[in-house]
Structure formats: C-alpha cells, structure tokens
Symmetry: C2
Subunit: 187 residues, 2 copies
C-alpha cells in the first residue's frame, strides 16, 4: 500500500529508498467503513489524509442544517479540513466515507518533520498546493459564470470515474441544486 504513496510522490520528484522509508514511516494507516467520519465538525483535525482506496465527501453544514459538498476525494487525492489542520483550529467541515476507505494519515508535526529532513518534499507539497489553489479558483469562476448543465459536464470531463462513483444526490449537493433539478437536466 505505501507503494501507492511512493508512485504518487515520484510523479513530481524522485526518491531514494532511504528517503521514502523515512517519509512513509511518518504516516499511519487507517481503515474506515462507509458512513464513518474521519473529521467531525467542531473537533480537532489531527491529520491530512492521502487516500489509498475509497471515496469521501468533505461537507459544510450551514446554520439551517443543510449539507453543502465542498469536495470529494478518491484514490491518490489528499483531503482534510485544511484550514483547521494547518492553523490548529477546530473543524468547520466534516469528512465522511461514501465507500469503505483506506487512508494514510499525516500529522502537521510529521509533515513539518518531513519538510525539515527532506526539504525537497516542500517542492512536492508546493505543487499539490498550487494545483489545489488552481482547482478552487476554477471552481469559483465556474460557479460565477456557468449553468448547472455545463458545470456537470465539466465535472464529467475532468473526473469521469468520480462522477460514475458518486451518488447523484451528492453530485447535486456539490453543484448546489436539488436531486430533482439535476435529474431533469438533459445530460
């Protein structure tokens, strides 16, 4: 299973066996069942998660109790309530399994250790952060300028396997429409 992490990191930079041995020793493996929570709103966020297997949703619940899907995560994606994780605050979002899920967990202290012992890993995390920022900015633009049908089609084009695996009701919550509206679209 750590092989998946090594392949993932080596898409950006090469690692020696020794380097990877140290890096992977900083992660903890955990396994969750569908519907279990990795992060619950109001609690501490000790980990950033690298997904080995499974599917998750990052959810923000508004004051009226309505669930908004901030993002999904599946194999090879990183996910956490990043603002809470990085700034040592309580979670404002929850992270819940849509399928049985296996993850590698990284604490902020171990993340800092990795970067201090192997500074080139800052380059890896910087690439990931830039890609996350670009995706978030593209989603802002898409929400401002594009209709639901086009946003569904963009999602399908960018992440075909995600759209196949995620229940339609959750896709609707991600796109900000009701399940009924989504099913009435000529998709």
């Amino acid at each position: 299973m750590p092989d998946r992490l090594r392949t993932h990191i080596e898409k950006i930079l090469p690692l020696s066996d020794e380097e990877f041995e140290y890096i992977s020793s900083c992660f903890t493996y955990k396994k969750y069942k569908k519907h279990q929570f990795l992060i619950q709103e109001g609690e501490a966020v000790p980990y950033n998660y690298f997904v080995l297997k499974g599917l998750l949703k990052l959810v923000y619940t508004d004051e009226a109790g309505k669930e908004h899907i901030v993002g999904f995560a599946m194999e090879d994606w990183w996910e956490t309530d990043f603002s809470a994780y990085y700034q040592n605050q309580k979670a404002t979002m929850s992270l819940e399994c849509i399928e049985d899920t296996e993850v590698l967990c990284l604490t902020l202290a171990d993340y800092r250790k990795i970067c201090s012992i192997h500074p080139k890993m800052e380059h890896f995390f910087l690439e990931k952060a830039y890609m996350g920022f670009i995706s978030a900015q593209q989603r802002i633009i898409s929400t401002m300028t594009t209709g639901i049908k086009e946003r569904y089609e963009q999602l399908l084009e960018k992440y075909p396997s995600l759209v196949q695996r995620v229940p339609k009701s959750l896709l609707a919550a991600y796109l900000g429409v009701s399940r009924e509206t989504l099913s009435r679209l000529p998709l």
Copy 2:
C-alpha cells in the same frame, strides 16, 4: 521599495542581506496607470506580481461579455492568472489597475531560480499557496451558503481597507449581484 518585499518575506522567514540581495535582483519593477492592463485575456502571462502600491482587479469575462471579478489585489498581495502563469498557457483572465499601481514582477524561470538557489524560499511560497487555497475554499463555502449581505459583511470584516477603496460597482461584480441590488441592501 524592495524593502516592502523584504518585510513581507520576513514575516514568514528571516533573510540575510546576501539572500535578499539575490532574491530582489530576480524581480523587475513596473509602474502602471489606472485602467492599464498587466494581463490581457488570450495573451501570455510572463509574471507573478507583488503589489508595492495600488489596487487591481482580476477579471474573468464570460461568453456574453459580462465581467466577473475573481479577486482584488492591493499592497503586499501577490496576483496573476496563476493557472496560466504556472502552466505556461494563455491568460483566461485579465488583471487591470483600479488605481495607479506599482509592482515587482517575477518570471516563472526566476521563481524557479530563487527556489533552487535558496530552497527555504519554497517554504515561503508554500505558506502563500496554502493561504491562497484556504481563502479560495472559504469563498466557495461562503458563496454556497451565505446571502449577499453576509458575504459583504464578511468581506468588510476581513479586508476593511479594501472595501473602502474598491468602487461599489466592482464590489457588486465580485459578489455576483448588480450595483442596484447591492445598494438596496441594508448595509
């Protein structure tokens, strides 16, 4: 003027005089008048800009020709069409001065040189990238869950001096409402 850059970087990490001398030698100083463009849609994006003085808007224009404000930038902020800059593509957005503006410009090649000669600068850029990602994600959540009045108040709380300086018509375009709707709100 480069002192402003040094103070800005040293909020995150200390620099020796030699380190800062090299880093600042990688930037080019430019001055623009109100209404001039730093980036125009469809053109190359050679620079990431550090704002020394002034106020800018990052704009996405949709197919119907309607302007959507993706973001603002003022003193000490970094701004560019980041996706185009980092991936060497043509701009999909434009960056235009709302006030007379002075910036320090950094090419991607010089950015890479800085990181390779002073690897600790990757830590600085990583911090900036995380903050950009957190802001973008908070804006996505805010757009999904919050009314215009609350979003205006959040903006005012987070960036009081920005809200004072930006014309109301541009704030309305940032919030995704008409100037009339914004002025009818009980703010």
